[in-house]
Symmetry: C2
Subunit: 452 residues, 2 copies
């Protein structure tokens, strides 16, 4: 008999799981049906700032696989279908489409409801031209505003990666941009010293950066559009506002069904992506991930995690062996010429997790110092003083600097000490770096501090 | 009482060891004397092709530390001093300088005699304008020829990294270049499929590539300069010949003293860089390195190994704890726009080492596919079918493709399986790669082949 797998939500985690399951089981064995509220599946949310900035012109290019592509591959994808309930006892979901609710039975269920952008209930937040940044529709709407009536002043609220990328995109479109961030630095996932360098870089490209200031509300003009942002004792002129305040796991549906949701708001799963309910899996931004170093359960919305979790769920839901081994919070961003990468624990995180952090920051270059085009890069390495274990890494630079964070991620992942990391057999030739690769150099400096 | 450490040879391994030892022990505790035959110490041999090509104009820029710099840092560096014997019983070395031989006592000895370029006894090899490529003097001499009387035709003998870099440098100087390589592919450290792509790239930049052909001799013109290279049934016009036939460990001095030298020709050491003789260490290109995956003892001349071994020797010679943990043969090269990286075992190496290799080759991009400036890159991953262990990686591409080999090196180093490697938390943003980083994608494809 043909079994039926239902995917709730078109998050990348769900669509990857569906595709992997289809590769492993033919249509005679397994029906796969995915229900998604919006018209889109499988697009690159990370590409939206580049769509707004005009770096990417064709919105279709961001769509990895359209619903039609999925259908061609044997997946029954139903967009405009909003799942409103999960009945674990009856093994059914409740779906609303075109105003009517109906029930759909499942043998196995995958929850891939993704994440919801944070949108605080501030006065004026519903004014025209105050945009979120989560969906392709958001990105297209902002681009339309820029094309139709370019704003004189834009305010980006929130100094995370996507806020910074949006600030860059708007600067690139010739708009005067202010950034308002409630904490004392942009990119809260960096240590303060490295975050300070990012703030300097932002100011360097002309962004008016306001740190340690919370947004209190939005003024509206006579035309119903936003006219200013009120933050602390400032009133910042704004005819466009972009909210980059992060996202929260969309776990309400799971919670309502009695499925375990953790303190981070993410659905709790085991390494096979099984939830607390028999026959129910979850993958993607709606899930809590385990940090491999701190052991902490966290909500981090990243397409790379969604895809990997989807792969695991697709394999385990069809009887195979796979596991999602946790995360390090590795991230990278490009702000004009600057590149920023980070992985693992910050000093503060390390302290909280019970380590005794010791760190070193080195200035190095992207090519051999004597090689034309060499640019400066800063690498910070953080280790545990007692064991020498590498705990975290952060990089700021230009011209290929930040992608080197992946080597530090691999070192942290494998619980390498800084001394061993400095001994790693990394590639060297003058066009690619100095003889001591900057990441190895940073580890060596920390090791010197430990061994004395 | 002040002890006396002697360094034989100015190889990077020796000078690093001396500097590290000096940092750990003051001049009141330890005398450090280094004897080097040539006038130079601590320069970037890898930078020589760029000096020849004119990318780097100032030869001084390649010198990391001159003898005078070392002296300022408390190291007694004596250039023009040729060590001709080591007397282990008397704890003395014999040194020839300015025609006179004398003896110098030591408490601890570090052999850092480096490597000697291969120069086969072929007819005509001593003709004018047939150059080796090992020393700064070689590089300066070739550049002089190019500046004084630019050759019409150059032949590079040997298709290793440095041969290819020289071919590029000469093309860049407007010379017609032929490359002759005895084996069936350039870059013998790549699998044949990847080596074939390199050959295509070389031809693409106008190099006349001859594979599977050995050089038999050199014709000399009436002026005493080389006029042609004879190879197989070809006679290739050449008014400049560059020999890039690799190097051999300079271990004769050690062998003559009764110190163990391995089958690779490299001096045998333990992980602390101690030789078979009490109180005698060795570091750098004269030493045999252990391949971490195959266990094989190999001679690989690389500045990165020399520096790391020097660090270890400098620490252990002064009573500290450190070890050189072996190598993976990681390497990288840039040939015009193309970049090539490799690490670990080739398929053939894996088979010889008793593994059952399974591999996948993927085409991916250096940025998200939709991002402007994305260029194609090819990644090959090799694993053991029985255990899934990642054994080797190879990359060919442009624009920052090849440096990603370091992540594969870190994965192989830590004995990761391809399935776990595919799950690594690598950084992602559209300007830096697709959602599945190319190296993770290659590993995932191999894992798919294994898990079915």
């Amino acid at each position: 008999m043909t079994e039926r797998m239902i995917v709730v939500g078109g998050d990348a985690g769900g669509m990857t799981a569906a595709a992997v399951a289809r590769r492993r089981r033919g249509e005679d064995e397994l029906d796969i049906v995915a229900f998604e509220r919006t018209p889109h599946t499988s697009y690159s949310a990370c590409g939206i700032p580049y769509l707004v900035g005009g770096v990417v012109t064709d919105a279709e290019a961001l769509v990895a696989r359209s619903p039609a592509d999925h259908r061609e591959r044997g997946l029954d994808v139903r967009t405009g279908n909003d799942v409103v309930g999960i009945d674990l006892d009856r093994r059914e979901i409740a779906v609303v489409a075109e105003g009517a609710e109906r029930r759909e039975p499942f043998d196995s269920l995958l929850i891939a409801t993704g994440a919801t952008p944070t949108r605080p209930r501030l006065p004026g937040i519903d004014a025209r031209n105050v945009f979120g940044l989560q969906t392709l529709a958001d990105g297209l709407a902002i681009r339309q505003v820029l094309d139709d009536r370019p704003p004189a002043h834009a305010v980006v609220v929130g100094g995370g990666y996507i806020g910074l990328e949006m600030a860059e995109a708007l600067v690139g479109r010739g708009v005067a941009v202010a950034l308002v961030e409630a904490s004392d630095q942009p990119m809260a996932t960096l240590d303060p010293d490295m975050g300070g360098m990012v703030a300097d870089a932002l100011r360097g490209i002309g962004v008016d950066v306001h740190l340690g200031v919370g947004v209190e509300g939005f003024d509206t003009g006579s035309d119903g559009g936003v006219s200013a942002v009120r933050a602390g004792d400032m009133t910042l002129a704004a005819d466009l506002v972009v909210l980059g305040l992060g996202v929260k796991p969309a776990s309400d549906l799971a919670r309502a069904a009695g499925i375990d949701v953790g303190p981070s708001g993410g659905i709790v799963t085991d390494a096979q992506m099984r939830t607390s309910a028999e026959g129910v899996w979850a993958a993607g931004d709606c899930v809590a991930v385990r940090h491999r170093v701190s052991g902490e359960a966290m909500a981090i919305a990243l397409g790379t995690y969604a895809n990997r979790q989807g792969r695991v769920a697709g394999i385990t839901m069809t009887g195979g062996v796979a596991e999602f081994p946790g995360v390090l919070g590795t991230a990278i961003a490009k702000i004009c010429d600057y590149e920023v990468g980070r992985t693992g624990l910050r000093e503060e995180d390390a302290r909280r997790a019970g380590f005794d952090p010791v760190s070193a920051r080195v200035e190095s270059t992207t090519r051999a110092g004597y090689f034309p085009g060499a640019t400066k890069m800063t690498v910070k390495a953080i280790a545990d003083r007692r064991t020498g274990r590498l705990l975290g890494g952060q990089i700021i630079g230009k011209d290929g600097a930040a992608k080197r964070i992946d080597v530090m991620a691999a070192g942290i992942w494998n619980e390498m000490t800084v001394e061993e990391f400095a001994m790693l057999d990394l590639s060297y030739a003058p066009p690619f770096g100095p003889l001591w690769d900057p990441v190895a150099l940073a580890a060596r400096k920390v090791s010197d501090l430990i061994i004395g």
